[in-house]
Amino acid sequence: MNNPKIELLNVQKTRNGTVILKEINLKFISGKRHILLGPSGAGKTTLLRLLNRMDDPSSGEIFYDENNIKNIPILELRRKVGMVFQIPVTFEGTVKDNLMVPYRLGVISGNADENELEKALELSGLQTEYLGRKASELSVGEKQRLNVARALLNKPEVLLLDEPTSALDSESANKLLHSVKELNEVLGLTVIMVTHQLENARLFGGKIIHIANGTVVREGEEEGFFLNSLSSNMS
């Protein structure tokens, strides 16, 4: 139950001589929701980007299912560890064209199964009627859901979300968080979400990891207690 899906050992990240992350030791538990919480510039996104090798640490090791991620073919790792960015990215064409991208890239072998596309859309909280709509014409919230759906098609084991609600209004943000929470509960997906908003952390629940000045200040399960004690530290 408490198997670490991803484990970081003494991870450090330096950029242009500045230490962004120092001495990070963390475990992300399989099938659990995790929140990387902290103020802007704390190093949360930098940490998240190390987990699917969008960036590599300057020193230290990262393990995925007990294998050093450097020994896992990078494309395989990225298929297993999906990522949704702060600002949703849509490609040219319809929602369906966007969902077909992993097939077109050859990340998923075989032909696209319409049922799979519809299932991914529904899991992300978009109706199947959206398939024929132009992706560029969706609202930001819908685009973000489309990004989640597209990531789901790769059947990831872990989903990384980098401030996924920051561009959304509160209603769309709540809906998205709810959908992602369901993905964790229904599919057993390990979820790691970056946020600087306490409210999002409260809504999302799970294990909370407080990061400030590039280090893990505190981590814990007791959300209520934890958040209350945290609120005085957050600006």
Partner: protein, 244 residues
């Protein structure tokens, strides 16, 4: 030549000084218009003079010696300088890029030079410097311009499409797939000047080599045949470099 009494007039150093006077007038204009280009202009004019003078004498020496090793060395120097120039144009300068461009230029220029000098012209000996050096200079110079354009464009495309590229990568795309659009845009941008010059050659512009040949008394017919070959060589060489 071809029955005409054509003589190629030599230029004295006094003639060159008259040419320099024109540059001084341009510098004066720059100062008058407050363009602040005088300094650069004078340096550029001085470099033109010194570099060409030096190359003129070096080439004269190489032509006299007529040794294949020296001729190959000249071409290698051209490729190295061109590769370094291309590298210098990229924001994130890497040694790999310099090697890659150098390799691509060697392959692209090498193939087109081989075809032109050994199959079409069948020069004897194979390293005949009067042919090999100017042809290599033109092909490498133009390839360098193509590669520079490509490198500059790919930088700006990647910057502009950073989020899209990252989204592709996060989905499991290879780097080549993720940057596919940027690569295509850069290749197009780099090929356009070559295609444009092929479109208007002879109508809008008389290229340097053809002009030079005509000035030195070669029949315009021969000159245009050479020019056709060189343009095709350049197009081929630029395309090969871009595909690396």
């Amino acid at each position: 030549m071809e029955g005409s009494n054509y003589t190629l007039f030599d230029l004295s150093y006094l003639d060159l000084a008259i040419g320099l006077a024109l540059i001084l007038i341009v510098a004066g204009l720059s100062r008058w218009q407050q363009l602040k280009l005088e300094g650069e202009l004078v340096i550029a004019a001085a470099r033109t003079c010194l570099q060409l003078l030096a190359v003129g004498y070096i080439l004269k020496y190489i032509f006299t010696l007529n040794h294949p090793f020296l001729i190959i060395l000249v071409i290698v120097v051209m490729i190295v300088v061109a590769s370094r120039t291309v590298k210098g144009r990229q924001k994130k300068q890497t040694r790999e890029l310099s090697y890659l461009v150098g390799f691509a230029m060697t392959v692209g220029s090498g193939i087109s030079l081989f075809i032109a000098t050994q199959i079409m012209l069948q020069i004897k000996p194979w390293y005949e410097p009067h042919y090999l050096i100017p042809l290599a200079g033109m092909v490498i110079g133009n390839s360098m311009n193509g590669a520079t354009l490509a490198v500059e464009r790919i930088d700006s495309e990647i910057e502009a499409r950073k989020m899209e590229i990252e989204a592709y990568l996060a989905l499991g795309a290879t780097a080549k797939q993720a940057a596919g659009k940027c690569i295509r845009a850069a290749m197009k941008a780099a090929m356009i000047p070559t295609i444009n010059s092929m479109m208007v050659v002879g109508i809008v512009s008389l290229p340097g080599m053809m002009t030079g040949q005509i000035l030195s008394g070669t029949s315009p017919i021969i000159a245009f045949k050479y020019q056709i070959i060189i343009m095709y060589m350049i197009a081929f060489s630029v395309a090969v470099i871009l595909h690396r």
